[in-house]
């Protein structure tokens, strides 16, 4: 972990250039460019709105759906990109010497920049829908835990994918399962009846760090009531552990990257 922070501080020039490179490349030669960062979630929101609200008659405010999809989108982008962070730069890894951790971390940060911009758009949208930013103080914690989680998961995935290409195939399925285990297209209050009867299930549910992180975002942006503090702390704690484990897995495996590629 110390190594990780040292590498990032020492090579911040390179890190920032890689972040800029990743952002540039993502939208290179697409007519709509950055707009795709917004259009992706917007289409998803439209699909879920039609399906859940109109067809299934699921009672859910649009603001919950919008915040859920936009927040989820950041993790989903990291999960999708990170498998290729090392194998997609095989030539660089084999032929040049620099801290390899910058490759996945620059992707996490580039996606974070995209996320910040989409967050701005979301805030503007919320302003038109009865803003309630009473819990805004929770936002920094939500973002920090979110960033830590994305970093840990991305580092572990990109390192493991060098050795087992199965990882990139599993990631898609895993992402889907994670999506529904997380209160993205529903609100945490909807599962409250279940967890009230079985507190253990509630704790299990919040072992998913995204559950607590999303609760923090919604508290910050929608003024939703925060679930029990210990449950949120559990989620944030798991996010921190995932981050540390991801960094450790990466540091352990990186010495063998060039051999495997």
């Amino acid at each position: 972990m110390v190594e990780f922070v040292k590498d990032i501080v020492a090579r911040r020039d390179l890190l920032s250039m890689l972040v800029v490179r990743n952002i540039k490349i993502r939208y290179k030669e697409s007519a709509l460019g950055f707009l795709w960062t917004l259009l992706g979630p917007v289409f998803l929101i439209a699909i879920y709105a039609v399906f859940m609200k109109i067809i299934m008659k699921f009672p859910m405010p649009m603001t919950v759906l919008v915040s859920g999809i936009f927040v989820w989108q950041y993790l989903a982008m990291c999960l999708g990109d990170s498998s290729f962070a090392i194998i997609g730069n095989a030539n660089l890894v084999k032929k040049a010497c620099f801290p390899r951790v910058l490759l996945p971390f620059s992707i996490v940060l580039a996606n974070f920049v995209n996320f910040l911009l989409s967050l701005l758009v979301m805030v503007v949208y919320l302003l038109f829908n009865g803003p309630c930013f009473g819990g805004i103080a929770w936002l920094p914690l939500a973002m920090l835990a979110h960033l830590a989680l994305c970093t840990g998961v991305s580092l572990a995935l990109c390192a493991l994918n060098v050795f087992f290409r199965d990882v990139q195939h599993l990631t898609g399925i895993f992402t889907m399962a994670w999506f529904f285990l997380t209160p993205v297209v529903y609100d945490i209050s909807m599962i409250a009846p279940i967890t009230a009867h079985h507190p253990v299930l509630g704790q299990l549910y919040f072992l998913n760090p995204m559950a607590g992180i999303l609760a923090l975002y919604r508290a910050a942006l929608l003024g939703s009531p925060l679930p029990d503090a210990s449950l949120v702390a559990l989620s944030v704690g798991v996010a921190a552990v995932v981050c540390a484990v991801g960094v450790m897995v990466f540091q352990k495996l990186q010495t063998r990257f060039a051999d495997e590629l």
Binding site: R11, D13, L14, M17, L18, R21, K24, I25, K28, E29, N89, N91, L92, V93, K94, K95, A96, C97, F98, F163, F164, R165, D166, T255, R256, A258, D259, E260
Partner: protein, 394 residues
Amino acid sequence: MSDIAIQVEGVGKRFRLRNAGGRTLKSMVMDWIRTPGGDRDLWALKDVNFTVARGTTLGLIGANGAGKSTLLALLAGTMMPSEGRIMTSGVISSLLELGAGFHPDLTGRENVFLAGAIMGLTREQMNRRFDAILEFADIGRFIDQPVKHYSSGMYVRLGFAVAVEVDPEILLVDEVLAVGDASFQRKCLRRMAEFREQKKTMLIISHDLNTIQSVSDRILFLDHGRVLGEGEPGKVIGQYESFSRSQAGGERRREWGTREVVLSGTEFFDDRGEATTKFAWDQPLNVRIRYDVNTPVGPSTFGFGISDEEGRLVHGSNTEIEKVAIPALSGPGSVVLRIPRLNLARGTYFFSFSVHSADHKVNYHRLDNAFAIGVESEKKFEGICYLPSEWTVG
């Protein structure tokens, strides 16, 4: 600062061999079920020891797969040794591959700054060097075009320019001089000569023995991951040449035919009748080709060919072209081929011999690239063949 730029102690590098498909969960499970065996390991390098004094150039030679590139990768830090220690002092720049890490969608300018950052330079340091890079690469306004639109020449020029303008203390060069056109190669060689004058340390891999002899202070000769020779360039290159001759033939050697007549042996000898496989470029070469006859055949033709190390045919001819009639063959015998003057550049060459029917319909026996000879030459002419030429003034 110590006088030693690079010190390599007992270094070994082991690779795990596995099936072409790469590691999958399935192969992992299979590995786990099978008892682990050392036979799947390959030592690409073993017991490698050497030091490079500051300001000197070490040339690495050896056949493909000898471990040269692995050694440079270990020195560059992209791979870790499996055993032993490597100590380097000074900023290292590696030309393991020109333009490695260039992203096709980014412009030349963006890639130059990115490459600089990868090598550890700050933006200001790169700003100061940018004009020199642009001048050396000589690609003009293309610098602001995505590199995917570059010709391969422009690509390698820009790659080389970045690496050398970074101004490293230690430069690792892997066979990159083989790319680019002649004028670019001259430019690179000039640039490397400047490096030597500036007392930089260099490690160079090249298959071009003439070039490597002229730029190196010392040579390290590797084979199958082991150091077989180290020292003064002329001596080690000679050792390498005779070694590769003794090994040669094996790789490109091919043999086929209907075997009515079989080429049973060859003897190379000089004009004094002494057996040798080493010839001076301007001296005669004799070779006696023995044959056995399994089934008597009619009028036949004996042929030969000489190829260089790259597999290029230098010359080929036969008894028919030279208007020598070979009568029907009914019992063992021999023919002698004499080349009055070789006229070949220094290097290793491979002889092929054949015997076939005079009408070319039946190929009795053919041995391709089966016999290696070494040619030594003091005369420095270009190309692989010497054409006697005369100059007059006025």
